[in-house]
């Protein structure tokens, strides 16, 4: 482990002892994995834009070095999209919760999957709205004997991976924050993916989700088999369905199929780039 590298990520950040997550929160694992992955890839903090969602998970943006932005509930992906379109050199990582992404922000999730900007979304998925004290999120009910769907108040859960696949995402992976090393691996692969990379990370809420605990996950997680072809969308869909039928949770890259991209340049923003603008071509069309 490169401890000097890891230390870099503790600058310009809220000191460890003031991190406001419950002891044992799954998000600690994500934070550790994120630092490991960024260190491994030798990303510089000033090149990074961390866009946090609303909720416990979004706080992570301030718990490590790097530029950060935090706006409205459900908005992280759209802010990230604009920043990435403006400056393709930025490394944009959106860090949000399951409520933020699949409830109030689902409009952004679906369409950012389609747009495929070269950025990462890591969802810390715990099935609850933790910060507001434990209400159901759209991913509530994982593995529970299902009475869901019998009432409008409690619909069946959103399957994040299938939603991503149906939305034309080009990179879909799953991790479990109890396995920091694997989570870090997924983040590395997501950053390296030339397009939108979605990681659904199971990050237990130790206070408000007493059902999907670390032990519960450990009994069910299983790595994606080596012979799985992640470039095959049908295979990815089948894999998710088969794991679900067996009551198991796949960890790893479920789908990866980069689209050809037209290279984009940073938009002009400095005075010298904006001076000497010639309006003649436009005016000529109105004469």
């Amino acid at each position: 482990m490169n401890t000097k590298g890891i230390k870099l990520w503790e600058e310009n950040a809220v000191p460890k002892h003031r991190i406001q997550w419950c002891p044992g929160c799954g998000d600690f694992g994500v934070l550790a994995a994120l630092k490991q992955a960024l260190t491994e890839l030798e990303v510089m903090p000033h090149e990074l834009l961390l866009v946090g969602g609303i909720g416990c998970s979004g706080q992570i943006r301030n718990y490590l070095n790097g530029n950060a932005f935090h706006g409205t509930h459900g908005g992280a992906l759209a802010y990230g999209l604009g920043a990435k379109m403006a400056n393709p050199d930025l490394k944009v990582i959106c860090l949000a919760g399951d409520g933020d992404t699949f409830a109030i922000g689902v409009e952004n999730f679906v369409h950012v999957c389609r747009r495929d900007p070269d950025m990462v979304l890591l969802v810390m998925n715990n099935g609850v709205y933790g910060l507001t004290k434990g209400q159901d999120s759209p991913t509530a009910g994982l593995g529970q004997p299902d009475e869901r769907g019998s009432r409008e108040e409690h619909p069946p859960m959103v399957d994040a991976l299938l939603l991503a696949l149906a939305s034309e995402a080009t990179f879909v992976a799953q991790s479990f924050s109890g396995d920091v090393k694997h989570t870090a691996r997924m983040i590395v692969e997501a950053i390296q993916h030339p397009g939108f990379a979605f990681i659904n990370d199971f990050s237990p809420c130790v206070t408000y989700n007493r059902f999907n605990t670390y032990d519960w996950f450990r009994e069910r997680v299983e790595h994606v088999p080596e012979d799985h072809d992640p470039s095959d969308r049908d295979a990815a869909w089948r894999l998710v369905r088969e794991f679900a039928r067996r009551g198991k949770i796949p960890l790893g890259v479920v789908y990866r199929n980069p689209r050809p991209k037209r290279p984009q340049r940073r938009l002009p923003l400095w005075e010298d780039e904006l001076s000497g603008v010639d309006l003649e071509p436009v005016l000529a069309t109105y004469r």
């Binding site: 409205t72 604009g82 109105y286």
Partner: protein, 627 residues
């Protein structure tokens, strides 16, 4: 015979008859001929096809004060079909709706392909009637129905005694159609000639003497025929905006179309959002990355963006928000103008945050004021609202090209790597001006943490009472700085001292100017005070301005008098009000009369076109569009 002053109105069935295709050609050609064309009163409906559409146009020798009153000299009806069994006959629609606006001795030209219509009442008023079977000529003689409008254009040019050598029309046709082949140009010219011949025939048969003539004044100046939305798009490009996002909505969609066409050619990008929120959020993201960013929408879309106004204010991320207002509330009347969104943009959002509201008074100011909006949003790092309305956005006019000066773009307060080596960088540093240094992500040593949650100077979340107070005060102090350094006082026409004062804001200025001139001519000296920097208001300077003023009458296109309320609140002065909210643009004479009425008693509220008896519902009939 009147020379170089004529008001036209072209009407027809939306999409089918190509009303604005005709008026766009007219506007362009008159502009090339050195004349001034103003077509701001757009009449159309929120449907694709089938509704009545009309487009009035004033053509003058010198720049007109406003588009004038609704009365027209020449009425052009493109609608052609008539079904004697139908309760309403479409080819009479334009005539029925607008015949009353024709001045005595004016000219009516209509497509008589399916039969002539009774026009005795109009002829009794000395109106000269020209039935032209344009569609029949196009179909049976020229074998191309599409040229029926060129037949009508040729007829109209003959009626205006304009372009008798076909030079202007030929040039335009060649520009548009030569790549499709010489025969296409010739066919169109032939169509125009047939229109002329038909007019000649009627002239001879009736011995008419035409009342108006347009004479070209070429080479006097360089000018374009352009809309407000196009001008503000140009202003944004000249002002350094390189990211635009919008979601389709009338009447702001044409900004998106303009930006999609032109922004990439200046190195920028235009994004059609998947919803109103994605648009403004993406614009905030691009602004965060340092790029000047703009969004455009209209009332319903602006309502959906409200949450992000606060994000812009709290994270101090600049964004320009164009609101091309239309009649609300809810869906309202998407194709009708109103000044009803002022309260939304000055008050929308929870909590207090700084914002600046600008409202251009003319198509020209859509360009020049947009340059200011670009600088202000960058300098004050807050949302800057830019309020147009349907008529200003979609309306077109001849604009002299001197307007399009290109100032040097100045980037305000962006720190570079070398700056932060000398002095530690705090993104939200508390400063006397309230403006903090800003960095673009990617700058070594200038990491920031921006958040809509309350934060300290570095950007870390904090609910410390002292830090909170300091941060709120810092942000709001930016408005004091703006008022001191950049706020522009209202334009004043005439003398305020002891005289009644008409107050207006935004797009109504030309009409209010003309109304003031009418009143002056009638011996009523009134001043006009017109605002383009609408919010916040500089209390001290305005108190001085209004100190010795007579009665103050605020004229605006909404029901409640939103700007009058603001003025009353800020200056603690009593206002009288003239309001119009029936979806029809303001006209000078009605404004002058309403102002006279308002001057009769304190606290007067005069409602133009309002307070009327209920209009009976006619089931099964299309509703008229209120004109």
């Amino acid at each position: 015979m009147r020379v170089n002053h004529v008001k036209l109105l072209v009407g027809g069935v939306q999409l089918r008859d190509g009303v604005t295709t005709v008026t766009d050609i007219l506007g362009k050609i008159f502009t090339r001929a050195g004349l001034f064309a103003v077509a701001m009163e757009k009449g159309y409906a929120s449907t694709i096809y089938g509704a009545h559409q009309f487009d009035p146009m004033l053509v003058t020798e010198e720049p007109p004060v406003s588009y004038g009153d609704p009365e027209v000299d020449v009425l052009v009806a493109l609608d052609y079909d008539s079904n004697p069994d139908a309760p309403e006959q479409p080819n009479r629609d334009t005539v029925l709706r607008h015949g009353g606006k024709l001045r005595d001795g004016g000219v009516l030209v209509y497509d008589s392909s399916t039969g002539e219509i009774p026009t005795g009442a109009l002829e009794a008023r000395g109106i000269q009637v020209f039935p032209i079977p344009a569609r029949r000529i196009a179909q049976s003689e020229l074998k191309r129905e599409i040229v029926k409008n060129v037949v009508m254009t040729g007829a109209l040019f003959r009626l205006l005694q304009f372009d008798s050598d076909e030079a202007y029309l030929r040039q335009l046709l060649e520009e548009r159609f030569l790549r499709k082949g010489r025969e296409v140009v010739d066919l169109n010219l032939q169509a125009a000639r047939r229109g002329r011949q038909e007019v000649e025939r009627v002239l001879e048969a009736n011995g008419y003497q035409l009342p108006v003539r347009l004479e070209p004044r070429p080479g006097r100046h360089r000018a374009v025929y352009i809309s407000g939305n196009e001008c503000l798009g140009l202003g944004a490009i000249a002002g350094g905006v390189r990211f635009y996002a919008g979601y389709p909505i009338t009447p702001a969609s044409s900004i998106l179309e303009f930006m999609e066409q032109w922004l990439p050619k200046y190195g920028g990008r235009a994004l059609q959002g998947q919803n109103e929120r994605e648009s403004i959020r993406a614009a905030l993201g691009a602004a965060l990355a340092g790029v000047r960013s703009m969004v455009g929408s209209s009332g319903p879309g602006i309502s959906l963006k409200v949450e992000e106004f606060g994000v812009s204010g709290a994270t101090e991320t600049p964004v320009i928000v164009v609101d091309a207002q239309r009649a609300g509330p809810s869906t309202g009347m998407p194709t009708r103008p109103e000044q009803g969104d002022l309260n939304l943009v000055i008050g929308g959002g929870h909590g207090d945050f700084p914002r600046i509201v600008l409202a251009p008074g003319t198509v020209e100011e859509c360009y020049t004021l947009m340059l200011e909006a670009c600088e202000l949003s960058d300098k004050y790092q807050c949302p800057v609202f830019f309020l147009t309305d349907l008529n200003l956005s979609e309306g077109k006019k001849t604009v002299l090209e001197d307007v399009f000066r290109r100032p040097q773009v100045v980037r305000h307060g962006i720190v570079r790597e070398e700056d932060v080596r000398a002095k530690p960088y705090r993104r939200f540093e508390v400063t006397p001006s309230g403006i903090s240094p800003r960095s673009v992500p990617g700058t070594p040593g200038a990491i920031f943490k921006a958040s809509g949650a309350e934060h300290d100077e570095f950007g870390f979340v904090s609910i410390d009472p002292r830090k909170r107070a300091a941060m709120v005060e810092k942000r709001m102090r930016k408005l004091d700085t703006y008022l001191q350094e950049d706020w522009k006082p209202p334009q004043v026409f005439g003398s305020v001292r002891g005289n009644p004062v008409v107050v207006g804001w935004g797009n109504t200025r030309p009409v209010l100017e003309e109304a003031r001139l009418f009143l002056q001519r009638r011996g009523v000296p009134v001043a006009l005070v017109h605002f383009t920097h609408v919010f916040p208001l500089h209390r001290r300077k305005l108190e001085a301005l209004f100190a010795d003023a007579g009665p103050v009458v605020v004229v605006e296109q909404n029901f409640s008098g939103q700007f009058a309320d603001l003025l009353q609140r800020e200056l603690r002065i009593a206002t009288r009000r003239v309001n119009k909210y029936n979806g029809v643009p303001l006209y000078p004479t009605e404004v002058a009369e309403a102002v006279l009425q308002a001057l009769q008693r304190e606290g007067a509220v005069v409602r133009i076109g309002g307070d009327s008896q209920p209009v009976p519902v006619e089931v099964g009939r299309n509703e008229h569009e209120g004109d």
